[in-house]
């Protein structure tokens, strides 16, 4: 029994050591592990122009302007995190989920004038999943406007009276 007990303690000690080593190195690398930086990060410490980075945030409501450039769709919009916002320009096809109020991650470079030239736009969807009729009912009742933020909590949808179509 003592040998088993000793093996158990050795194992636990190794686990604690390994766990704290990992926690320490993860917190040291914390800033390098981010997939994207937010507009307020860019405002606080602007990266050198020309350096490629990922900028992430929400598409600001009312900021999307679409046009055509050389046969390709071109889009200008602002990415915001609520505290700062950056103007972004992108030429190319946007993902299906792109809309005002949607989270996006754009890859590109900052230009000297502070605007961002994106070469790739990824849509980031949130963790809420909602049937279309619930979304329509929430929008119709004025409880939620998708371009302005997150929907009310899911627990409230289930008590929501969903009017039948054509009813």
């Amino acid at each position: 029994m003592t040998r088993k007990r000793r093996r158990l303690w050795v194992l636990l000690a190794c686990g604690v050591g390994l766990g704290s080593a990992t926690a320490l190195s993860l917190s040291a690398f914390r800033s390098n592990l981010v997939f994207f930086v937010a507009p307020s990060d860019v405002a606080a410490s602007p990266p050198p122009p020309g350096r490629s980075l990922r900028l992430g945030g929400l598409v600001e409501a009312g900021s999307v302007q679409k046009s055509v450039m050389g046969g390709q769709p071109a889009t200008r919009f602002r990415v915001t995190d609520g505290r700062a916002s950056v103007a972004v320009s992108y030429v190319g096809i946007l993902p299906d989920l792109f809309r005002e109020g949607q989270g996006v991650v754009t890859l590109g470079t900052l230009r000297p004038d502070g605007s961002f030239r994106a070469s790739e736009v990824l849509a980031k969807h949130d963790e809420t999943y909602m049937p279309k009729d619930v979304a329509d009912a929430l929008k119709r009742s004025g409880l939620w406007r998708p371009s302005e933020g997150a929907p009310p909590p899911a627990a409230s949808w289930n008590t929501l009276a969903v009017p039948k179509q054509g009813g």
């Binding site: 088993k4 093996r7 158990l8 194992l11 190794c14 686990g15 390994l18 766990g19 990992t22 993860l26 914390r30 592990l33 981010v34 997939f35 994207f36 930086v37 937010a38 992430g56 946007l94 993902p95 299906d96 989920l97 809309r99 949607q102 991650v105 790739e120 736009v121 990824l122 849509a123 980031k124 969807h125 949130d126 963790e127 809420t128 999943y129 909602m130 049937p131 279309k132 009729d133 619930v134 979304a135 329509d136 998708p146 909590p153 899911a154 627990a155 949808w157 289930n158």
Partner: protein, 267 residues
């Protein structure tokens, strides 16, 4: 019944017999394990198949489409169970590894060696279905964000365990090395779980958490829970069936060795 197996020491490795009957080692007796698992297997496999089928049909044809993702949200009903089992399977692997290192439980070695291939398969399923979901929704098959990268690391841990366990001539050393690798890899599990909260990731945070209300409509939650439960039972049935086969294969090897030795003595 147990006595009958115990009376034939050539069939089971000796150390199994000396410990049988004590605590966890009650289940270490291979004869008893084979009988018990044989009786249990249909009762895990049949509900597993039925629940998975029900969950998938519900998710594919009856659950509503998402307001912004459209029908692509149906990939959730296979992706989320696969992701959950990739982590849960690894936890089971780590549990078996601890039982193997600390208590030298002989069945734990066999079970660990059989969990890792199944876990690797479900992790691959998670990565493939996630990629098929990411392309139409995010606009990319793959991104190197913390969630996706840590799940890829999990996949490599499984592959490493599969290779390491089978890399030694002496199986005991393979089991020991594999158990250490599996336990070291446990640090990856909280990283996977909390990656979406600790860092900016493209992957969204979890919809279903232990303490918060799910951020999902109930009509989508039910088929998801059904298919998650179904796949969990399927996973368990696969591991149980493979471990049964492994126990029998070990008995076959022991019998062949004993027979060869017997012939040697006679000759």
């Amino acid at each position: 019944m147990v006595r009958r197996v115990d009376a034939r020491p050539t069939i089971a490795p000796p150390r199994t017999l000396s410990r049988a009957g004590r605590g966890l080692h009650r289940f270490a007796n291979p004869g008893r394990f084979l009988r018990l698992s044989g009786a249990l297997l249909p009762w895990i496999a049949a509900p597993g198949l039925a629940l998975t089928a029900a969950g998938l049909v519900w998710g594919l044809f009856f659950a509503p489409a998402d307001w912004q993702q459209g029908d692509a949200v149906r990939i959730m009903y296979v992706h989320v169970p696969a992701a959950w089992l990739a982590s849960a399977g690894y936890l089971a692997l780590a549990g078996c590894s601890a039982a193997s290192l600390v208590w030298r439980h002989p069945l734990a070695d066999l079970a660990a060696a059989e969990i890792s291939p199944v876990g690797a398969g479900f992790t691959a399923m998670c990565l493939i279905t996630g990629s098929l979901w990411g392309k139409p929704m995010w606009g990319a098959w793959w991104v190197w964000d913390a969630r996706l990268t840590s799940v890829l690391v999990l996949f490599f841990l499984y592959l490493g365990h599969i290779a390491l366990v089978r890399a030694f001539d002496e199986p005991e050393r393979g089991y020991r090395a594999g158990a250490i690798l599996a336990l070291v890899g446990v640090v990856n599990l909280p990283i996977i779980k909390f990656s979406v909260d600790w860092w900016n990731t493209l992957h969204q945070p979890d919809s279903i958490t232990l303490f918060g209300a799910p951020t999902m409509s109930l009509v989508m939650l039910w088929p998801l829970l059904l298919s998650a439960l179904g796949y969990t039972l399927v996973f368990a049935a696969l591991v149980l069936a493979r471990t049964r086969a492994a126990v029998m294969e070990r008995r076959i090897r022991a019998l062949l060795t004993a027979r060869a030795r017997h012939l040697e003595i006679l000759g």
